[in-house]
Amino acid sequence: MDMNGGQALIKALELEGVEVIFGLPGGCILPVYDPLLDSPLRHILVRHEQGAGHMAEGYAHVTGRPGVAMVTSGPAATNIVTPLCDAYMDSIPMVVITGQVPTGAIGTDAFQECDTIGITRSVTKHNELVTSAQDIPRAVREAFHIATTGRPGPVLLDIPKDIVDPKNPNSAMNWHWPTDQEVRDGLPGYKPNMKGHPRKIREAAELILASDRPVIYAGGGILKARAAEALKELAELCDIHVVTTLMARGSFPDDHPLCLGMPGMHGNYSAVTSMQRSDLLIALGSRFDDRITGRVGAFAPEAKIIHVDIDPAELGKVRRPDVPIVGDCRLVIEELIGAIRHLLDGGAAFPERSPWKQTISGWQEKHPLSYKQSEPGDALKPQFVLEQLRDNTPDDCIVASGVGQHQMWTSQYWKFNHPYTWVNSGGLGTMGFAVPAAIGAKVGRPDAMVWAVDGDGCFQMTAQELVTAAAERIPVKIAILNNAYLGMVRQWQEMFYEERYSEVYLSPDLPDYKLWAEAMGCVGMRVEAPEEVESAIQKANEIDDRPVVIEFRTDSSEKVFPMVPAGMSNDDIITDPALGEGFVQ
């Protein structure tokens, strides 16, 4: 017996290349926090376990490496359920370690016991109750392997106290670090399919060569597969426009002439309508989410579908593809490029697509994103703030966001020209994501400038993590778009509930965001006039030793447009009524 389980757990994390753990200790995980003192692993002490989970996600978003969080049993485990679900929905690689009551006490309603495995089963890619110290290195290796391969996702290890506590004989173990082969043998049911089927690739190439109105529908899978370069090559080779979903922003540069930007419920007119009118959708790592398709039956009615995803369960889940391809997006795109080149070399040619391209540029000219600038003395327009922020930050600035109107405006108005610069909660739509995720992102990319754009509602859910950031000297910058409302809900009540506002008002002054920021060790600023916006941003950019919070007082009545109301066809896209089109429900 050369080691105890707690030491083994820490050593295993070190061997997995972990550099930082986000966490907060407590009774059952205590024995693991002790050997942590002797380890080079960095630990960031959060103020709430939800923060640890979102930080790990933010870290994973920008680095591509798995984020790691460690918390104790019971309430700490339940506190981290939301980030687990968030990571599961957005396929974020993450390993979460939870303490558990000693094996002998499991099932007795012991103090701070909860059925963590049962609770998290449906929000993790995999989870395991580790029952013996000897199993710890294997469990850790498997957890990282599962979290990072195939379709990435969160994996949870539940660790009973006795197997890590040196005072308990159950913690004795002999160190053995499993080989790759042992890991594979231990997981006979797990063999993600990486390479696409050659016949399907050929069929896809033929469809692309036959299509008059093709659109590439790029999803988050492009980023997970590190396929941005390959995507660009494919789009340029075939001269096909690309839409980037909320999860794929940055996977194809917004300043590229073939980029159409974001489709979906709040997508821009050209992106939404090109998909609707296309005769071939090339779905790459995207999943036909309801926020993209609108009413499924009316979605892209004339389009054939090529659907590439590493997860076979996505193919045919919503829309049956004409050519389904299971595989890693990067490998499949590269194979597809090869197949298309082969056909081109053999004398094949793309059809004349200039009418389609003209149609698209016509839409782009007629329906640009737009808003009405505020009159002097009126409240700031949120879109104006975002334009200023975009224009006064480096091109590769990382931006995180919360969930609501501010999130949609950020995705719309930001120019994403680099992959891994957009950190957001897409699938679950988790309010409170921005602050901790931005902190995790900054930890992962200390060289990059990191801004979070947050709503006043969202900010109040996880702002306490700015204490963590101040204590750890993690200089994130937060722009609160304070519209004094749960704005997105207010927008729905205005549009679909006859302006009957129910429980959406938050007050612009309560809390005092500037004072609150200062109390948390941040620099706090408040901006109310358009001419102050730029200088405040500049000032924030210069602060590099602590977090900064700027509260922008924005127009409460501003709504996000365009909009495809929930459950309606994408043909019924509404552009801003204030800009003349008129809103008819």
């Binding site: 109750l129 997981l187 006979p188 063999k191 045919g316």
Partner: protein, 175 residues
């Protein structure tokens, strides 16, 4: 207890460890699909168990469910067995009212079905019957008028038929 019309038999090979059944049944429960019957036991290879699940769903949601099952790390193989290409067996235990006046009729019934009498009381008999689930249905039907006190069926287990298994089996997951 007659079989639903659109029943599907899934034969799922899983790693033999704690919690696998909960993962599996959770996927059905999430979609509010009722599992009609379920049988779990170790296979010829002690590392694995085979779970035979009978469900009553349309094919499309079933395809989605099978793909979701396939994603479970502990699921090694899934085969959907077409009832016409499978050998199916089930075991039934039943205690029925069998007063002396009708006892010989019941014993005759058990004989015809090649069942066995396991336990004899003054007024009751406990019997077992093994066979194709349809045969068990018939037996149950015929026994019912005498008065069934308690009945327990195991749920079906199934394996592909040997002669045509290669051609007609639809392997959904094959590791």
């Amino acid at each position: 207890m007659t079989m639903p019309n659109k029943h599907h038999i899934l034969s799922v090979t899983v790693v033999n460890k704690a919690g696998v059944l909960a993962r599996l049944s959770g996927l059905f429960a999430r979609r509010a699909f009722n599992i009609y019957s379920l049988a779990v036991a170790p296979t010829e290879d002690e590392r694995y168990s085979r779970i035979t699940i009978v469900v009553d769903v349309e094919s499309t949601p079933l395809e989605q469910i099978t793909k979701q099952l396939f994603k479970l790390i502990d699921v090694v193989k899934i085969t959907e067995l077409d009832p016409s290409d499978a050998v199916e067996r089930e075991l039934l235990l039943v205690t029925a009212e069998a007063p002396p006046a009708v006892r010989s009729q019941i014993i005759e019934l058990v004989d015809v079905f090649e069942g066995r009498i396991l336990n004899v009381g003054h007024e009751r008999l406990t019997m077992s019957l093994e066979g194709h689930p349809d045969k068990l249905d018939d037996f149950e039907e015929l026994l019912r008028p005498y008065g069934i006190v308690e009945l327990q069926r195991t749920g079906r287990v199934a394996l592909p038929k040997i002669d045509n298994s290669a051609a007609r089996l639809r392997a959904v997951k094959n590791a």
